[in-house]
Structure formats: structure tokens, C-alpha cells
């Protein structure tokens, strides 16, 4: 077997020509062979394909004929007589295996061979080999699965075959075209849980299959019994928590909320084959839709999608029927009219018209690339859809994450693209996915902070709103560890993404207030608890920033990012988001900015102080109007702190009386180091960040002057100087001076 597989794999590489495509369709429409072989020969002539290609095609044809013979052989069953039986059987098995691993099998072939495998015509070794190569070319028809399940009842196959069959079902779940009839057999599958050997796999299968209506009290009871009997198995736990999710009232026992992977992916025997199937399903890829609203935006994407991306292409059941158009029956037409498939969906009005009969793709991952379907799963409150999506997402994230696969780090680009798509979908829906949260928990400790940095940090910024102190040890402490030992660029991007995170949380909270759905949130926290969480996040960023500035020797570049966080988000929370919260920056940031050598930093600081002032006065006003003190973060301490900062700033920049209160500096020290006029040395004229402005202001007036005396700027000239500063673009300074300083007090 191994050698056969090897051969298959090696011959897989050149399989990119048009011919293999036509061959595939041929395989699919096996019963319509005549028609298609005609079309194939025409296409061969039409394309003037190179010699190797046609040779390849010939080889394929031969293999195909052999496959048909093999399938017929299996269908008829073993002949008792001949001694060469084993040889023939082996030959045919090898044929099936090689074709299956190379190109996959058509639905009809799977149908036949699946029957053979489960009917017990051959020995269990043959059955298991057959099952292992039940790899679809594109899709598996639901009826084949139902038929196969019916064989399980006859009891002709042994335990190991059953186990393998369930594992196959789990692996191929996404490729089964419909699940309605299979779902009707839910009771049967559920009964199979009693078999100890089958239980884990049946659990996994049920986990994928369960819909809300399947959750019944007697099933819950049975599951709890099983758990009592078998102990806390992760698979039972998974199914129970799914049941609880669908119907929380049915299950009163508390299940520990574990962010865990319940099922082992390493048990997937068909991993490489699945990638190939996904790739195949993608080849006639329609251009992915741009994630935007409205019909005008459905434009083909310019950039070609990477060789093969991890996200499956929209592919619902009607897709497979397209191949055999001739054989389509009236009932097919009728049923097609009822269901509107994802591929047909091209515009928003279409979505609205067909929202009642929309058929979702058989592979949930495909919705990530389709804005309209994202709309759909967002508004139709079907938990099973979301669960399927989340399940698919967590599995793919786990399997493809590059720092889990040491040998496979070449696929970094692919993984990056995948993350990009997820982030795009998250941006589009304006919310994070649960699976990404779990992924972050699990992979952050192993992350090196470099590969996929931008994507990974963006995932952090879409972290769903939660209690900060609860997630801190898992996310933010680990991030801090990376933060302090990484480069300044890493620090800047972390700050940038934490800013995004804060914005997402604030938006979520402000929406929450308007909709009055605080109780609806899964957190079940009180409003003040949520505010506390935001406060802690801001505090955390303040802590990070202060220390980062020390580590990076007060880099101006970094300080820009730090101040940006406060300028864009923190200082305006009260006014912009209507949330009762004002958090000031820590002194370590304030004094650094105030004493900075960079005029744009000083300007930014002035602007932030101005915005803080507006927010605080607005809060105070509301307090007076409503005649009740806001219970949240508006302690008098915040005002005191603000006033303290303000006094320091005005003292330095304007009145030339720096640091009067809580004097930090001993005047004697200044005398000793020879700075006699230390008092004026931080005002608007002498401040190191503004001194160059003062000089060019004077030079503008007296261009001939060789020595200028900046101390001459006072009185009327001071005002002119101010106007000059404002005209140079120091708008923050302007706003600050206009709002915080009474103009009569010109020094």
C-alpha cells in the first residue's frame, strides 16, 4: 500500500493541466461516460496540448478503466473458486486506492464501494482498506451515507470497521452534500453511544450533527448516565456542553468552562486527502466576493487567490447536480427551486428575497469569504450554524498554525492569508469569533512574537469583551512578557492593537447601553463590572507604556504611539462613547511628554489635556443636572489628578513657576549646576521643544540680527509669538491655551 501511495503522491505534482480537470468531470459523471468522452476528445483537439499532457491523459484513462473494472469486481463480490483470487483482489484494491488518493472517487463509486465495505462481503482487512480510501473527488451523496448506516444495523461488520466508518464520517462531514436525512437517523447514532469502543467517535459525529431539535430530556439523562459510568471524558463533555448551549434549562449540572480542544485531530487518517479535496473543489474557483455591503460591491477581486487557500469554496449540494444536468429529474428541479444555494447568491436584494430558503454551503468555512452569507449567519439566529463554523475554524486554526508544525513552516504564507481572511470577516461582522479566542489562549504562550505578527495582534484586538482580570493571566500577562523583551517596533504594534481592542470594547459597551441588553451578555456582569474591566485595560496599557519608555530610553517614536492611545481613545470616552469613565495617564507618561524635546509630542500632550478638560467638565455638568453622583470612576481623585497635571503644565509653559506644588526640585540643585533662571527655562519660549520656534520667530522679525535674545518675547510680543506658534500648526497648544488659560494673564 505504501508504495502505491508514494507513487500516487509523486505523480500528483504535475497534475495541474486542463486535462486532469476534464478527466475529473468525467470521473464524476461516470454513468454519462459517453457524452463526456466526446467532449473530452474535442477539448483535446481544441487545445493543442503538449505531448506529455496527452500521455498523462492516456495514463489517466487507463487507470480509469481499471477503476471501473475494479469497482465492478467489488460490486459482484468475491469468487470462491480461483486460486488467483487474492492476487486479483489485491490488484483491484490497489487500483482503487491509487485512484482514490490521486483524484478522489465519484459519488457513485463511493456509493458502491461503501456498500461493499460495510456489507462484509470481504474480510475486515479489505473492508478497512476500502474505507480508508473513500475519498471523494468533490462531494459525497447523503444517500450513500444513509445506505451505509443501514448496514451497521445488520451486524455484518466488525467493531473496528464500525469505528473506522465513524471516523470517516467525522472526517468527511463537510463533504456530505445534505444532512437532513442523516439527521433523521439521530436516534440511531445516539443509541450507538452505548458501545464503549464507538463512543468517542459517535460523540464527535453527533457534535457535528446535533441541531437544537435533537436535544431532548431523555438524551440528556442518557448522556449524564454515560458520564457517570465512564468518567469525565472530554468527548462526552463536548456533547453535553453543546446540549447545554442549545437548551440551558435542560442541564442543571455545572460544566467547567474549559477552553479546550475536545477531539483529537491527530486521529484524522485522511488529512492529506482532505487538503487535496479542498484544493480540487477550489480549482474552478469563482472569484471570492469582497466583504462589503450591497450589490454594487460584488466585484471580482483583482489579486488572485493564493495557489490554494485553506478556506473552502462555496459548494452546496446543487453543485454536484450540475454535472449531470441531463439526468436531472423533475423533483430535482422542484427542490432546487425551493432552496437557494450560496453560489447563486450575488447581491443583497437576492439575499433578502431568498432568506427563508437559503441553503448554506456544505463546508462552513466557505462563508468566511462571502459577505452576504456572513450577513445571513449573523442575523439568522441558528446556533448550529455558528457552532459548525466555530468548530471548523478552531480545527483549521489548530491544524494549520505554523508554530505547531515544525516541519511545515513553509506554509506561513498560506496561514497568514487564512488569518487575514478571518480578520476581514471579524471586521465585517464587528465581532470576534469564539474559536479565535480559544486559539489565542492556546497559542499565545508559544508565539515568538514575530511570525504573522500583524495578524496575530489583530486577532488580539478582536478579543471579545470580557472581564479583564479573568483573561489577564492568559492573554495580557503573556503579551507583556513578549512585549518587554521584544524590539521597539513590536512594542509599537502592540500598543496600536491594544488601542483597537479598547475601541472595540468601548463600541460594544456603548451599543450595549443603548440596546439595554446588559443582561443578555454572556458575561452576566454588572455595568460597573464592565467599566472596571475597561479601566483595568487602560491601566494595563499605561503600565506597559511607562515601562516600555524606560526600556527604550524614552524614545520619542514610542512616545508617539503611547500618546496616540490616549489621544484617540482614552481621553474622549465620556463624550464619544457616552460611557461614564475618565482615566488619566500615569505621571510617567505625562512628565515625559511635558519635558520632551519634540514639539509634536508637546502639542499632542496639550491636545489630550484639552480633551480631558472637555470630558471632565461635561461629566461635572451632567452630575449637576442629574443631581446624582455617578457611581463609577468619577472620584474626586480624578479631578485632583487632572488639576495637578494642569497646574504643572501651566506653571511650566505659561507662568514660569514650574513645579510649585509638591516641589520635586530643590532650587539649590539648579544653582549648583549653574542654571540660574530655571524658572523660565520651561516656558513657551525657552522650552527645549519650542526654542527653535522662538528663534525663528525673532529671526523673521529681524532677519539681519546675528544674536537674538529670546527673553525679549514678553508682553505684546508674547501674543504675537503665540499666533506664530499656532500658525506653525501647533493646534493642540492653541486649543489648550484657549480653554485652560485666562488671557488676561499674559506674563
Amino acid at each position: 500500500v505504501m508504495s502505491a501511495r508514494k507513487r500516487v503522491k509523486s505523480s500528483q505534482t504535475p497534475r495541474t493541466s486542463q486535462h486532469s480537470n476534464s478527466y475529473q468531470t468525467n470521473l464524476l459523471a461516470w454513468k454519462l461516460k459517453e457524452d463526456l468522452s466526446n467532449s473530452r476528445s474535442t477539448s483535446k483537439h481544441g487545445q493543442n496540448s503538449p505531448v506529455e499532457d496527452s500521455e498523462q491523459a492516456d495514463a489517466d484513462e487507463q487507470a480509469e478503466d481499471a477503476l471501473q473494472i475494479a469497482v465492478r469486481y467489488f460490486e459482484k463480490g468475491p469468487f470462491k473458486t480461483s486460486r488467483s483470487k487474492d492476487k486479483t483482489l489485491e490488484k483491484h484494491l490497489k487500483t482503487v486506492e491509487s485512484v482514490a488518493w490521486k483524484n478522489g472517487l465519484a459519488p457513485e463509486e463511493i456509493d458502491i464501494l461503501l456498500n461493499v465495505a460495510l456489507s462484509g462481503k470481504f474480510g475486515s482487512a479489505v473492508n478497512s482498506r476500502l474505507l480508508r480510501c473513500m475519498i471523494p473527488a468533490t462531494l459525497i451523496s447523503e444517500d450513500s451515507v444513509v445506505k451505509a448506516v443501514s448496514w451497521l444495523c445488520v451486524g455484518k461488520c466488525c467493531g473496528s470497521t464500525k469505528v473506522l466508518f465513524y471516523r470517516w464520517l467525522v472526517a468527511m462531514f463537510d463533504f456530505i452534500d445534505h444532512k437532513e436525512k442523516i439527521n433523521l437517523l439521530y436516534g440511531f447514532f445516539f443509541a450507538s453511544l452505548q458501545d464503549d469502543a464507538l463512543c468517542p467517535y459517535v460523540c464527535h459525529f453527533l457534535y457535528l450533527l446535533t441541531k437544537k431539535e435533537n436535544v431532548k430530556p431523555f438524551r440528556v439523562r442518557k448522556l449524564l448516565d454515560l458520564q457517570a459510568k465512564m468518567g469525565r471524558q472530554p468527548y462526552l463533555h463536548a456533547l453535553l456542553s453543546l446540549y447545554k448551549f442549545f437548551d440551558p434549562t435542560l442541564i442543571s449540572v455545572s460544566l467547567p468552562v474549559k477552553k479546550n480542544i475536545y477531539f483529537k485531530n491527530s486521529e484524522n487518517l485522511w488529512k492529506t486527502a482532505l487538503v487535496a479535496v479542498r484544493q480540487r473543489n477550489q480549482e474552478p474557483s469563482p472569484e471570492p466576493l469582497k466583504l462589503m455591503l450591497g450589490p454594487a460591491t460584488v466585484r471580482p477581486r483583482k489579486r488572485k487567490w493564493n495557489s490554494h487557500s485553506l478556506i473552502p469554496v462555496l459548494n452546496s449540494s446543487s453543485h454536484s447536480k450540475e454535472y449531470g444536468k441531463k439526468g436531472m429529474r423533475l423533483s430535482d428541479y422542484l427542490s432546487r427551486n425551493r432552496a437557494f444555494s450560496g453560489e447563486q447568491l450575488k447581491s443583497f436584494p437576492q439575499l433578502l428575497q431568498n432568506i427563508h430558503c437559503l441553503e448554506l454551503p456544505s463546508q462552513m468555512g466557505a462563508v468566511l469569504n462571502n459577505s452576504l452569507l456572513l450577513h445571513y449567519i449573523n442575523c439568522v439566529r441558528d446556533e448550529s450554524l455558528l457552532l459548525r463554523l466555530y468548530h471548523w475554524l478552531s480545527q483549521t486554526l489548530q491544524e494549520e498554525c505554523i508554530w505547531y508544525q515544525v516541519n511545515n513552516y513553509e506554509c506561513e504564507k498560506e496561514f497568514t492569508n487564512f488569518l487575514d481572511t478571518i480578520i476581514k470577516a471579524e471586521c465585517f461582522l464587528q465581532e470576534g469569533f469564539d474559536s479565535c479566542e480559544a486559539f489565542l489562549y492556546k497559542s499565545l504562550p508559544l508565539w515568538d512574537g514575530f511570525c504573522c505578527r500583524s495578524q496575530f495582534l489583530q486577532l488580539v484586538s478582536w478579543f471579545p469583551f470580557s472581564s479583564f482580570s479573568e483573561v489577564k493571566p492568559f492573554i495580557f500577562d503573556r503579551l507583556a512578557q513578549l512585549f518587554f523583551t521584544s524590539t521597539i517596533y513590536f512594542k509599537c504594534s502592540v500598543l496600536e492593537n491594544l488601542k483597537e481592542l479598547l475601541q472595540n470594547w468601548l463600541l460594544w459597551l456603548s451599543m450595549d447601553i443603548h440596546l439595554k441588553t446588559v443582561t443578555d451578555s454572556s458575561l452576566e456582569t454588572t455595568f460597573s463590572g464592565s467599566m472596571q474591566s475597561v479601566f483595568e485595560l487602560i491601566h494595563y496599557v499605561g503600565w506597559l507604556s511607562t515601562n516600555a519608555l524606560r526600556l527604550e530610553s524614552n524614545s520619542t517614536f514610542l512616545l508617539h504611539f503611547v500618546l496616540d492611545f490616549y489621544e484617540k481613545k482614552v481621553c474622549d470616552i465620556y463624550i464619544n462613547y457616552n460611557l461614564p469613565l475618565v482615566v488619566l495617564f500615569p505621571p510617567g507618561i505625562f512628565y515625559l511628554a511635558l519635558l520632551s524635546l519634540d514639539s509634536s509630542i508637546l502639542n499632542q500632550l496639550c491636545y489630550i489635556m484639552h480633551r480631558y478638560r472637555n470630558n471632565l467638565t461635561a461629566a461635572k455638568k451632567n452630575e449637576l443636572i442629574l443631581k446624582k453622583k455617578s457611581e463609577f470612576i468619577f472620584s474626586s481623585k480624578t479631578y485632583q489628578e487632572y488639576n495637578h497635571y494642569l497646574t504643572a503644565m501651566v506653571g511650566c509653559l505659561w507662568t514660569s513657576k514650574p513645579f510649585q506644588k509638591g516641589s520635586y526640585f530643590d532650587p539649590e540643585v539648579f544653582k549648583m549646576i549653574g542654571v540660574a533662571k530655571y524658572k523660565t527655562s520651561l516656558n513657551l519660549v525657552h522650552h527645549p521643544a519650542l526654542l527653535s520656534y522662538a528663534i525663528s520667530f525673532l529671526l523673521k522679525e529681524y532677519p539681519e540680527e546675528r544674536t537674538v535674545n529670546v527673553s525679549s518675547i514678553r508682553g505684546k510680543k508674547w501674543n504675537e509669538y503665540l499666533d506664530y506658534l499656532f500658525s506653525e500648526g501647533l493646534q493642540g497648544l492653541k486649543l489648550f491655551i484657549r480653554s485652560s488659560i485666562r488671557h488676561s494673564s499674559v506674563p
Binding site: 479546550n260 513552516y409 511570525c451 500577562d477 512578557q481 518587554f484
Partner: protein, 180 residues
């Protein structure tokens, strides 16, 4: 001089010395090379040792940072580190020791559970870093991070001491990975 002490020797001028302790030469050597390639104002010295104690008769510079490398794929590796730790003076644990865990990416190959290393690092109050040293990209990033830590531990970053960095790196109470 069987026990290593941070203050046994005077610091060399502009020199920063790291000691990597671990059995896997095939992993440590490339890591050392990557570190030496880093652009850095201090004069870097990387010493490799299979285990502690170090031979006492050799003249060596002051060691500013010890990093114990644990390979999760080998039980012996953890054992070796645990035994070597006995030969390190307590004052070293004021920020001049780190644990580097390699091989965590491939769960199936692990013969040592991540939690046992986590507990070790917690017991010694020292930071724990994860990196699969076999992958070049990851190794280079880790080398970069180690050089930054080393510079701080050697006192070459003004205003920050090793103990200071340790307090920044040490999260409140690291929960076990099992609870994730």
C-alpha cells in the same frame, strides 16, 4: 567554586556574558551563533555548558545571565536542568536566570509535560520562554530577545536592572496550561 555566584567576579568593560545550559548541542550551537550575529552595542560572549557545576580551574568572565534549555522531547533534559540548578547561587535568581523550553509545538513528541517545566520556573521565580529552536525563524527571534535580556542583566540599559525586568516579566500567578 562549585556554586556559581553572580558577584564572584568584576564585570568586564562593556562585556555581557550569557551561559546556555543544556544537553542539545545541535540546538544550542545555532542559537549561540544567532545571538552573536545580533547587532548589539555590548561585547557579547556566549558560553555553552552541558550541565553545572562548571569546572573550577578555568578562568572565565562574569556571567550575567544563565539560560537553562529544556527539550520537552527528552526526559533526561529536564532532569539534567534540575540537577544543574543546585549549583546556582540564590542571588542569581534575582533576575539573572531564565528557562527556555523547546519542542512544545509538537505535542505528540513530548515526553515531558509543559506543566512540569512551568512548575520548575515558578519554583525558581524565573521567566519561562517558549521557542522551537529547530526552526530557524523562531530561533533568530529568540536570539534577539535573549540579547535584549542579557543587555539588561549586564546593566547596559540605563535605568533598568535585572531584578526590575524580572518583576515586569513575572505575571501575577501563572495558571496551569491545563486550565486553558
Amino acid at each position: 567554586m562549585s556554586v556559581l555566584r553572580p558577584q564572584d567576579q568584576l564585570p568586564g568593560l562593556n562585556a555581557a556574558t550569557i551561559l546556555l545550559v543544556g544537553k542539545e548541542d545541535a540546538l544550542l550551537q545555532p542559537l549561540a551563533d544567532s545571538m552573536l550575529k545580533e547587532d548589539c552595542a555590548s561585547t557579547l560572549r556566549v558560553h555553552l555548558a552541558h550541565s553545572l557545576p562548571l569546572p573550577s580551574d578555568v578562568n572565565r568572565p562574569r556571567i550575567d545571565l544563565i539560560v537553562f534549555v529544556v527539550n520537552l522531547h527528552s526526559k533526561y533534559s529536564l532532569q539534567n536542568v534540575e540537577e544543574s540548578l543546585r549549583h546556582v547561587d540564590a542571588t542569581f535568581f534575582l533576575g539573572k536566570v531564565g528557562f527556555l523550553v523547546t519542542g512544545a509545538g509538537r505535542d505528540s513528541h513530548c515526553s515531558v509535560h509543559r506543566n512540569s517545566v512551568l512548575k520548575l520556573a515558578q519554583a525558581y521565580r524565573s521567566p519561562l520562554l517558549f521557542c522551537d529552536l529547530e526552526v530557524e525563524g523562531f530561533r533568530v527571534t529568540m536570539a534577539q530577545r535573549l540579547v535584549r535580556m542579557l543587555q539588561i542583566c549586564a546593566g547596559h540599559v540605563p535605568g533598568i536592572s535585572a531584578l526590575n525586568l524580572l518583576s515586569l516579566m513575572r505575571s501575577s500567578e501563572n495558571p496551569c496550561l491545563e486550565d486553558l
